[in-house]
């Protein structure tokens, strides 16, 4: 899996949506499709700072590939976690550490999801990249 393939897949998915309702519906479904999050990982260490909702994100480097697990106590934020997992999972750690946020603009979500600190998606991406930088 390359980051580019994953990103273009998501961008394509989002390009079909005409209304904000459809985008959110897709996002909510992404959240629902997340596997169960292990209770012992639901701790302060794995919390992403700066989100209004609680977000837990765990990054793992398995033979140079990134594996993510995550959850949130809010439905839309869980969808955002799902979105990031779809994009970053199974990608090369080195590739993720050098990536940028262009997909947020491309999928048109940044027009809908205000990029304020309460949203937290930037914080989540920052955490993932920082992990990849330190563990690449």
């Amino acid at each position: 899996m390359s980051l580019e393939t994953n990103t273009s897949k998501i961008i394509k998915e989002f390009s079909f949506f005409e209304s904000w309702e459809e985008k959110y519906e897709y996002l909510i479904d992404l959240g629902k499709s997340l596997g169960p999050f292990p209770e012992d990982l639901r701790n302060d260490f794995n919390l992403v700072a700066g989100c209004q909702a609680k977000v837990w994100l765990v990054c793992k480097n398995e033979q140079g590939k990134l594996f993510l697990q995550g959850d949130s106590d809010a439905i839309i934020t869980r969808g955002l976690v799902g979105l990031l997992i779809t994009i970053f999972n199974n990608c090369c750690v080195d590739e993720v550490s050098q990536s940028n946020n262009f997909f947020l603009e491309k999928i048109g979500l940044n027009k809908h999801l205000s990029m304020t600190r309460s949203n937290g998606i930037n914080e989540m991406i920052k955490k993932i990249r920082l992990y990849c930088l330190n563990n690449g």
């Binding site: 909510i28 989100c51 209004q52 909702a53 609680k54 106590d73 809010a74 439905i75 839309i76 934020t77």
Partner: protein, 404 residues
Amino acid sequence: MFNLKNIRSDFPILAKTRNNKPFIYFDNAATTQKPKVVIDKICDFYSNYNSNIQRGMYFLADKATSEYEKSREIISKFLNSNLKEEIIFTSGTTHSVNMVAFGYLKKLVSKGDEVLIGEMEHHANIVPWQVIASKLELKIIPIKCCENGKIKLDDLIKKINPKVKLLAIQHISNITGHENNIKKICSIAHKKNVRVFVDGAQAVSHKNINLQDLNCDFYSFSGHKCFGPTGVGVLFGKRELLLEMDPFFFGGNMINKVSFSESSWGQLPHKFEAGTSNIAGVIGLGASIKYLLSLGFSEIQKREGLLIEKMWAELYSNENIIIQSSAPPDSPILSFNIKKLHSYDIGSLLDEMNICVRTGQLCAQPAIKAFDVSGFIRASLCFYNTENEIEEFISSIKKIIKIL
């Protein structure tokens, strides 16, 4: 008579659209919108008489100083303070709390003394006291609140002892919209020689404040929450206490004499207005208070009473809505939750529907903990909101419940 159409047209932003649709502004407890008279007054200062105040010996400075001091007079009359020197311009409520915490508290206390704080205060009325308390080795004691956010008077009475020197309390809760009985609280506190600091940030835009009647020792508010500009606010203090209080900032306009061996400060109120003040802000604040007074608080309260009654009735009767308080609020601020849903999700989708509300912990984490929730959705209204907006808000909430 209250003409809603005219009043809405006083606020240029209310005519703006997003995605070609008007928006609903229900975040007035965070900041209110600004009427054109305030915007114009600020433009007028910068366009026609911008200059520094108090010191310049020329016509521009005279005009600026006189307009600045006129604002002090307007606010002194508005709050019914004894003297206009008791009105200190600050950058807002947070600044005002810090000034009293760091400039005055040390005059009152000795090691081991206590400061009482309502358990549902805004962070700005907790943290400054906490920081100075740890320096002066004082204890911070929270006063219990009812489910409507008002402090429990019996808990206050129970906790007042000879060690208690000051009580910090909000006038109106930024979460529940309920009002503390400041007059009664002051009378209880004063009998035991306890000073009272009141955070009036949520009160000033909704009701007439009569400091002679309330009899609190300090009162503070922010300009931007009562239709004025951001970055300006007020600290009222009784004259004898302000004389005793030390400045928190030094330099500029507050100075009397300076030498390298020692310096001295000017008289009240200048002693507390260091540096160059937010002149445009103060002048704009004067205009906003004048605007409020031109509408009249009896009309404002009547209008806001109708709005909050409608909002309360709609939300309270909805089985999916959880409201902690069992009585309608005293001012148009209402916080609630929706069963099984996170306030963040509601806020995000309301934003899609062009409705601006505040969600989350509302700058009051101890209160959120006391309520045992993860956060709130807060709709805070004011007189320029409409019944139609409330109806659209309620139907949007119902739609969101379906989506989620």
